[in-house]
Symmetry: C2
Subunit: 347 residues, 2 copies
Amino acid sequence: MMTASRAKRPTISDVAAHARTSKGTVSFVLNGRAGVAPETRARILAAIDELGYQPSQIARSLSNSRAGAIGLVLARTPQTLRSDPFFAPFIAGVELAVSADDTSVLLRFVEDDAAERAAYERLASSRRVDGVILADLRRNDPRPALVSSLGLAAVTLNRPDVASPFPAVCNDDVTAIDAAAEHLVGLGHRRIAHVSGPLTYLHPNQRDASWRGALRRMGLDLAASVASDFTAEGGAQAMRALLETTSERRPTAIAFDNDTMAVAGIIAAQAAGLDVPGDVSIVGFDDAELSEYINPPLTTVRTDPFGWGEGAARTLLEVLDGDDVPDTVQAGVSTFVVRSSTGAAPA
Amino acid sequence: MMTASRAKRPTISDVAAHARTSKGTVSFVLNGRAGVAPETRARILAAIDELGYQPSQIARSLSNSRAGAIGLVLARTPQTLRSDPFFAPFIAGVELAVSADDTSVLLRFVEDDAAERAAYERLASSRRVDGVILADLRRNDPRPALVSSLGLAAVTLNRPDVASPFPAVCNDDVTAIDAAAEHLVGLGHRRIAHVSGPLTYLHPNQRDASWRGALRRMGLDLAASVASDFTAEGGAQAMRALLETTSERRPTAIAFDNDTMAVAGIIAAQAAGLDVPGDVSIVGFDDAELSEYINPPLTTVRTDPFGWGEGAARTLLEVLDGDDVPDTVQAGVSTFVVRSSTGAAPA
DNA sequence: CAACCGATTCAAACCGGTTTGAATGTGCAT
DNA sequence: ATGCACATTCAAACCGGTTTGAATCGGTTG
């Protein structure tokens, strides 16, 4: 049963023959170019329809030297991906934007910096992609320069701290962090700490700056800032470190850079005999699905990786079309969601 | 600064000229074919090296009519992806296997069945991929027949319930479910229920069958089986339904088909005044990162989407190479992890 | 009627590889 | 010297599109 009917698909020549015209004219019709008699166009369209013809993307790419694909190189391990709330919806957003344009996404995972560099070089020189999205920017990231020297187009996720000829597609963490800061201060908190992700990455730095800025506007300073690593173990450790401060100077509210660390922090606080939020309020970041179900339900920032991916891809496509693109684009809406891990500051 | 040095990349002709030979010969050494004098080969390799030449994948694909890519079409929404513990590590596994072979992965997300069908058709007729991985199999799934009629190679994730000419790459849920069943029975449970995902999908059916089989081997029957939908709301609802049974006949242990439903189920039980695991034991499925932190920490099955993806991709590549492939391949190891949401059956 | 024009069409070159069938050169047996 | 098998090399065709420069045609114009 189920014979794989390997009927050779029709080519543009078949269509031309069938419509009694030439390849060139068919090509014109396919690309909607002027200079084809209406009657001929109709005949060609009929032939296309009758033969069920679809142009070969590959052949098309070869002649117009556009790969019709964009690349995304990620340095993530299976372990981090298992619980990564960012990647899947992000790539879905990218895909959505890109498929509307009939181009495709090429994914590549790498282990380390050397492999990353090699991946971009291969992508470029094997001409598989027209442009790339630079994600997970690091401090002093070599990629804008590398990618630009390879002649690839690109957009960056957030603005790099190095010179970059590419548009930066930014999310609005700042607004959400402002809201979170106001919420905490409104509850009477004056000593607020921030536990960030690894500072080799740019976004933990930026979020730290956002917290500082938000508090400053309300006349406060960050009580403490500790750099961690996004893991549960790291979150617990950071919490224990913060709790060691003498109790008059101890922060009454702590914001973590992801939910994993925040939840581990809650557990660590409870293990130390503290009540959350009675003794200390906790804020997370990401809004993992189960954050709502832990005890107490986590107050956190819900991010919008889908929207961010969509915006990034759309912007990159505009760049590829040669459109004029502003060098900063906003995409994705983060919202601050209040649950029960935050409460009035202790007296 | 940062001038995009758009130096035209060298082509195979450049290499040929530089090595004072012909394109054909260069192509031979590129593909490691016999019949090139050692001395010539050396000259060509030197030229390649000197020019930094890398063959164009696109041109290559055009002549040998292999796209050098495999496709993956998924019907998932951004909402489900946000907390989907399967997709990201799965695709990473696929990518890993596939990049070793210098082929790439083409992702496509679709909304509904019609769009899905169209996606496969386009993938095939625009010759963008050589084969596809069929995921999220449904009952009576039309895709094996469709894909086969399109002349694409494929592998399926698990064995479909319809005739399929493709190898099935299966995970070992059965073993893990056996372990879970033994664990519960060992704790004295006799009335065990299963809350499954939507039965339009194949794997909830298969898991239900696995539970039935495991219990039967120990002389028991499934106390109840309710079909749900993988959402928190669905899990809570299923739990409430199960609790309505008169308390002598009420299940003392309930296994859910994912962690989301399991956690919502725990909350619902607690809201009904029951103790977990004192009055009812709960088992999840997936092992989401935060499952460990809810109260009580969730006993669950940890799956291996990364390994599954790797296995599926590797198998598909073998099919594409024309190797002989057994029609069932095992990939990925699921393990049963015991935490505190399961305990001795109530007396 | 010749010259010219714009609109349409077409044949051929090209993109950068692979593959083939013929040409070349070498050493060896006859 | 002749013929032949063998190893190497090359030019050309091909994959399926796009693009270009020239050819064709009916209709105007001088």
